[in-house]
Symmetry: C2
Subunit: 507 residues, 2 copies
């Protein structure tokens, strides 16, 4: 219960976090003591449309495990290990995603509940998101150092990353806005570029003045940048003092600054005023709003194996390809394909003679696209959303804090689910107004509580929960519990649930 | 029961059918009385690998509903309506497929049980298949006229087809081997060609001597054939007297003829000798073995909307395309594809920028292929077969004479099925040695019989069938019965079934 209270506290009253009072935390690394309070601000509001059908509205790209040993968000947090503790990590996301992300972080261990959440009333791009985080951290201390990073990038070399961030922290403490420039390996048109200016020596190494920011260029320009040298990809990772970035926002985005001042005076983050004010902010990136305009930007050339994994095509840059340039995952039977990426799930995918293609299969939707047009996937997602289709929103298997469920079939008046409960897990005490439920236990032992009684149901036994009956399902054992649930009723949607008690604060 | 006895009679003792004694049936059409016994011989042994994943070993191409109003086989039979009655239709197929085809034909009405089956012990191409049918029909009467046709072709104009067949019957009665030549519409390399010779006048119209048969040509040759004129596609549909084709087989395929004589003396079609003799026959087509060599072949130029639908690419010749040359079926969301065919089922298929591609989706397997390499699908099917994968053999939904079942999920020690029983349908009285079954009724009323009792289970009720318990499931109502079956056991395969009584002769 404690755990979720902290989360709720964050959710409901982020402003109270201004009383956060740990004081100055010394950071020791590279043999240098960096005094100041270092915080990681992880931007996790992305909807991840570009990785549909693997990403969904409720499971965006940052929550996907596509490259590396864990999901992109958990890798982002693990990358701070031994360097920035959980209670100095701030995740900026939307109300809509926050709870799922919270559950998602449980896999990092109990201490993950110390991670803070900053909830945006609506997604307004990185400018307002960074500004909101800066306002909070500035209240903790104007000297707070913010390491701002996206939640869905890949960085292969954690040691190199931490070293560069330490260098950046030193530069930030001297009052600069610091960013990381990635040495380009090709004339990429999907990234912004930074031109390096004069070098600038600080005690732990050399950094450079930024001489110019260039938005995603045309191919010709990208080729010039690439061949001329001195141009680096803009990684979207920044380090600065909270007070410094607010000062720059005041200079370059005055209306945003005014809005923040207004918000700061509010006591209730749930107020309509907060929502309205935030939602009125210009939809602008911090790059475009501040970095391109400020004269106090430093760049650290950084070769730490970065990729922003911008879309499905980018996957072929970070995963190992076979001799024909293909990447196959899952049950793929291929004949003669070239330079194609095929991501399967539990079904057979037979691919024949593909050239420069992307195939991504999930239980309820499959994407088949030429690589050069894969960015058009957003149109597909828009269509699904417009048609209120679940395929844009959720997967057929939904992860929950207590385990997961998979919708095996849904029809007129019924729904079949396979439900898996983790050892010790407990669903909420609940009631459905319009459906009854048959449970058949596949493996494990179920503890069932209804209004009258508590009883145990073993594998190969079944039980029945009539409509309008309070009930609770638990897994009292040390092995997972798997059950088949057959719902019968005139309405079998997820929102027919009344919760009376919940381990996860969902009442 | 009677119905199935006839089927079993055919299955087990085809030679007894030699006593078939309906006598001469007058056929009246086109104002002319054609005396003689006309029989349709439908070659339905094809495995339909080329239409995987829609076709499976147990559901080959002829049983698919892909073009037109019904499955290809049922269309083939309906095309004979009012012209050749059910009891003059002979389906030549393998033991393996015969029962499924029998169930498949039930949809044609009760009289469909009059259709005869000739069972090949193993598939040996059209030469031996036609020879076996000719032997049987020759025993009925040497004057029997055989209209031999594949079970999986498309013919759009039934009236024109029947008219041409009548013409062919007249020519066949004069002792010729008659075939139909399709006027080519392109220099196709996938078809054989026939060169027309001198015209030949018979009372109902004009036919031509065949001057030469040409196997599937190279493109250059095909172009010459196409532009020069006088060359027609070989439709694979033939008409001749049973005695005549046997005579030609004697001349051109003497060892096959000797084998047939040997088989004819056998009394027991289930004998190992029959199987061994038949299986020793050369794997040869009737075209190659007889038609190309005989000097008594006539051709009837026939423009009745024919296609052999040879593979997925051929589909775009017979289905209507959109302005970009695409064919979309099912839930397809497309952005900018061209000349592509996308066949979906119940899942979302998002296709982006496809060019000359074939996509075919089924619940357990998806094919994605360039059009020009789609013939390689056979390699995929071979791999699946080698690996004993069900995806080459059956669909997730299996049609049965009593209804159908769909495997929703299968895991270690369990299987979940959705079962649908037609009104009045009755499963066999059966028993499972290694699994128990939970049944939850979704809609309809189930009548359940066990050793001790008979009882009724209504929608939203469930029942349990323990392991080793005789049971029977029936749908006593006039609406379909839908149930969810959860099987539990250490072995949950279909072959754990002991049948004691069965409506469909499967005990």
């Amino acid at each position: 219960m404690t755990r979720f209270n902290i989360l709720c506290y964050d959710f409901c009253n982020p402003w109270k976090i201004a009383h956060f009072d740990e004081g100055v935390m010394p950071i020791i690394a590279n043999g240098i003591e960096e005094e100041g309070m270092v915080h990681a601000v992880i931007l996790a509001g992305g909807r991840g449309t570009r990785f549909w059908p693997l990403s969904r509205e409720n499971c965006p790209k940052q929550m996907l495990h596509i490259v590396g040993e864990d999901t992109l968000l958990r890798q982002t947090i693990k990358r701070l290990n031994g360097f920035i503790p959980f209670d100095h990590i701030w995740i900026v996301t939307t109300d809509h995603l926050a709870q799922d992300i919270r559950f998602h972080l449980d896999f990092l261990g109990n201490d993950a509940n110390k991670i803070h959440f900053i909830i945006e009333p609506s997604g307004r791009n990185t400018g307002p998101a960074v500004a909101l985080a800066a306002t909070i951290l500035n209240q903790i201390s104007p000297d707070s150092i913010m390491v701002v990073m996206p939640s869905d990038h890949i960085i292969r070399d954690t040691k190199a990353f931490q070293d560069k961030v330490h260098l950046a922290i030193e530069a930030a403490m001297q009052g600069y806005l610091v960013t990381f420039g990635i040495p380009p390996t090709r004339p990429e048109t999907a990234y912004g570029y930074i031109r390096l200016g004069q070098p600038f020596r600080i005690s732990t190494g050399e950094v450079f003045h930024a001489e110019g920011f260039f938005e995603k260029p045309e191919l010709k320009t990208a080729e010039i940048f690439f061949h001329q040298g001195g141009y680096y990809w803009n990684s979207g990772i920044f380090v600065w003092r909270a007070s410094k970035i607010l000062h720059e926002i005041e200079n370059h985005l005055p209306s945003l600054y005014e809005g923040l001042k207004h918000i700061e005076k509010l006591n209730d983050v749930r107020s309509e005023t907060f929502r309205e004010t935030y939602s009125s902010f210009e939809n602008i990136s911090i790059d475009h709003g501040v970095m391109e305009k400020s004269r106090e930007v430093l760049v650290i050339p950084s070769d730490f194996g970065w990729s922003d994994l911008g879309n499905w095509t980018a996957l072929s840059d970070v995963l190992e390809r076979d001799e024909e340039g293909n990447i196959f995952r899952g049950e793929v039977l291929d004949v003669g394909s070239e330079n194609s990426t095929v991501i399967g799930c539990d079904r057979v995918l037979a691919t024949i003679g593909l050239k420069e293609m992307i195939v991504v299969d999930t239980p309820d939707a499959t994407l088949i696209s030429s690589k050069d047009m894969v960015h058009e996937v957003r149109k597909v997602v828009e269509t699904l959303k417009r048609n209120h289709r679940e395929e844009h929103r959720i997967h057929r298997t939904v992860e929950r804090p207590w385990g997961s469920y998979t919708v095996l079939e849904k029809g007129d008046g019924y729904k079949i689910k396979k439900i898996s409960l983790n050892p010790g897990a407990k669903l909420s005490l609940q009631l459905h107004r319009r459906r009854s439920e048959h449970w058949v236990i596949l493996s494990g032992i179920a503890k069932v509580t209804t209004e009258d009684q508590t009883y145990f149901v073993h594998a190969n036994q079944s039980t029945y929960i009539p409509v309008n009956t309070k009930h609770r399902l638990e897994n009292p054992e040390k092995i997972p519990l798997h059950i088949i649930e057959v719902q019968n009723g005139d309405y079998v949607e997820e929102d027919d649930i009344e919760r009376f008690d919940d381990e996860y604060g969902r009442t």
